[in-house]
């Protein structure tokens, strides 16, 4: 079942076309890796899918419904977004941060209740973050912080999880841990995941499909092993060497 369909999406900013008609789709319970050189439009595309940026042409459907017809609050229960780098100037505890993810399930005047708290504690438990619950988000290591932000996104109970380079400044231990977590979430909770990443070897191992962007166009959408075999990766990153020599 297709949970997300993107057709010919165009995005322009100040007369410059940042995305030139991108199309792809996401199956329920699969992990799509989005690859491409810096500046190829990955982050823009992710934000458009999340409804944070408007797009000028094309069509996006989530669970069969047009993005423009979905209300803010409905959308917040359908997709969650983990941005690439977040700076939080105040010392909120991990529990406070993850609780914020419950916001779409509350009315504006409601405070977080006991059920929200229990729900969030369960998520922290399953991500092995319970011991950090009362620590300040700013006192965590980069890896722990990234896990906490993923926990916040999961607290929204989304059908689609969108992540922008979640592993880019993490050490190999957390890179592996995050990929394995996403793999587990997609298999056991049939969560659908789109992730921009530069970790080719991990993406190759864990992703169900891949999308390659180059200068705002999709140059390839399909199985990642085929992309490796047919030299797509080398073209996407303008490489002179063979990627297979390095992984």
């Amino acid at each position: 079942m297709k949970i997300l369909e993107v057709e010919n999406v165009v995005f322009s900013y100040n007369d410059a076309e940042i995305l030139k008609g991108v199309s792809f789709s996401l199956e329920k319970g699969s992990l799509l890796s989005m690859l491409g050189a810096n500046g190829s439009g990955k982050t823009t595309l992710l934000k458009i899918i999340c409804g944070v940026l408007p797009f000028s042409e094309g069509r996006i459907k989530i669970v069969g419904k047009c993005l423009s017809e979905i209300s803010r609050i409905e959308l917040a229960k359908m997709r969650a977004f983990v941005p690439s780098e977040v700076h939080i100037p105040y010392n909120f505890s991990v529990l406070d941060i993850v609780l914020m993810g419950r916001s779409p399930h509350l009315k504006w005047w409601q405070a977080y209740g006991r059920k929200d708290r229990e729900f969030v504690l369960d998520i922290l438990e399953s991500l092995k973050l319970s011991h950090l619950a009362l620590r300040s988000i700013n006192s965590l290591s980069s890896g722990e912080k990234q896990m906490a932000l993923i926990a916040q996104a999961l607290a929204q109970e989304p059908e689609i999880l969108v992540l922008d380079e979640p592993t880019s400044h993490l050490d190999i231990k957390y890179k592996i841990e995050i990929f394995r977590l996403l793999d587990r979430m997609r298999k056991t909770n049939s969560l659908s995941i789109i992730m921009a990443t530069h970790d080719i070897s991990l993406a190759l191992k864990y992703s169900s499909s891949s999308l390659f962007l180059a200068k705002g166009s999709n140059m390839y959408f399909g199985n990642m092993k085929d992309a490796l075999a047919t030299g797509i990766i080398e073209r996407a990153y303008n490489l002179e060497q063979k990627v297979s020599e390095f992984i």
């Binding site: 100037p89 010392n91 914020m100 916001s103 504006w108």
Partner: protein, 310 residues
């Protein structure tokens, strides 16, 4: 822990309130305590609470720990409203509060939109645009003062920032406006927490960011303007108090607003008691005292900012 600290700050507030009724250059006769010092200390609580809460709201919704109604130019805007109303010779109190509020909001939004670039507002950019707006409004105010020389000295003294309103009806009106504003924000404090993490995150979580940001800016500008209308510009309360409160009980806005409301009152009447007793028989406007302590505190924050966590 939060409760204990709140009770402690409330007790301190009550003690300083009571004590400062008996501090001042003149002897503490019944008449002076009841008719001069009581309204003055009472005004101190309202003004301090309002400025501190406005600071909390600005620092939260703009995700900017350096924001405060004085630095953003909100106070200057309100002051221009006061000056224009004084010079126009109108007497209608409704028009007075409306014009003061209007100019305060205009100043806030101008600072905000000058600093906004590609949907983002840099912390230092916002400070700079606040400086620009304040400088411009300051010049306009001085221009009006030159035009109306008979009022100039009065207005100049008012601008220094002091607790000299003795009309009890006026104090009551401002009390109602300020507490109305604060109680409107309390149920929205959860959204303020999310804005403090990031406006984009607020959008992701299904919050109508433009609408709520506007509500927060309107209320913060509003409560600032109403207290500027009676006490001139008293700087830095909105900067110092929220930071102290945050250091005591953490960044969650529900408790932060309540503690800042009490703490703002406490700090301002304490500063005012100092202003009355530092050089008797002179009564120094409290705005001078808060600026003397506030400006170095701002410097401290700027230095601390290099770590970017407050």
């Amino acid at each position: 822990m939060t409760k204990k600290i709140s009770v402690l700050v409330f007790t301190l507030l009550v003690i300083v309130f009571a004590a400062s009724l008996f501090i001042g250059p003149a002897a503490s006769s019944r008449d002076i305590v009841l008719n001069l010092r009581f309204p003055r200390v009472f005004q101190g609580v309202i003004v301090g609470s309002a400025l501190a809460c406005a600071g909390v709201i600005f620092q939260g919704v703009l995700k900017n720990p350096l924001a405060d109604p004085y630095i953003l130019g909100t106070s200057s805007g309100a002051l221009l409203g006061v000056v224009i109303f004084q010079i126009s010779g109108l007497k209608n109190p409704f028009l007075f509060y409306t014009s003061v509020f209007f100019f305060a909001l205009l100043a806030t939004l101008t600072s905000y939109f000058i600093a906004r670039y590609r949907g983002r507002v840099g912390n230092v950019d916002l400070i700079l645009s606040g400086v620009i707006v304040s400088a411009f409004l300051g010049a306009v105010i001085l221009f009006f003062l030159c035009l109306s020389q008979e009022n100039a000295l009065n207005i100049l003294f008012f601008m220094m920032g002091g607790l000299y309103e003795t009309d009890k009806t006026v104090l009551l009106i401002v009390l109602i406006l300020v507490s109305g504003g604060i109680s409107l924000i309390l149920p929205l404090s959860r959204y303020l927490d999310i804005f403090a993490v990031g406006e984009e995150k607020a959008g992701i979580l299904g919050i109508n960011t433009e609408k709520y940001k506007f509500i927060f800016l309107v209320v913060a500008s509003g409560i600032t303007s109403f207290v500027v209308a009676i006490s001139g510009t008293i700087g830095f309360i909105g900067l110092i108090v929220p930071h102290l409160a945050r250091a005591l009980i953490g960044p969650k806005h529900f408790s932060l607003i309540i503690l800042s409301a009490m703490g703002g009152g406490f700090v301002l009447i304490f500063a005012d008691a100092l202003a009355r007793s530092i050089a008797p028989p002179l009564d120094i406007p409290v705005g001078i005292i808060t600026a003397l302590f506030g400006a170095p505190f701002f410097l401290y924050l700027l230095v601390k900012k290099r770590r970017n966590i407050f």
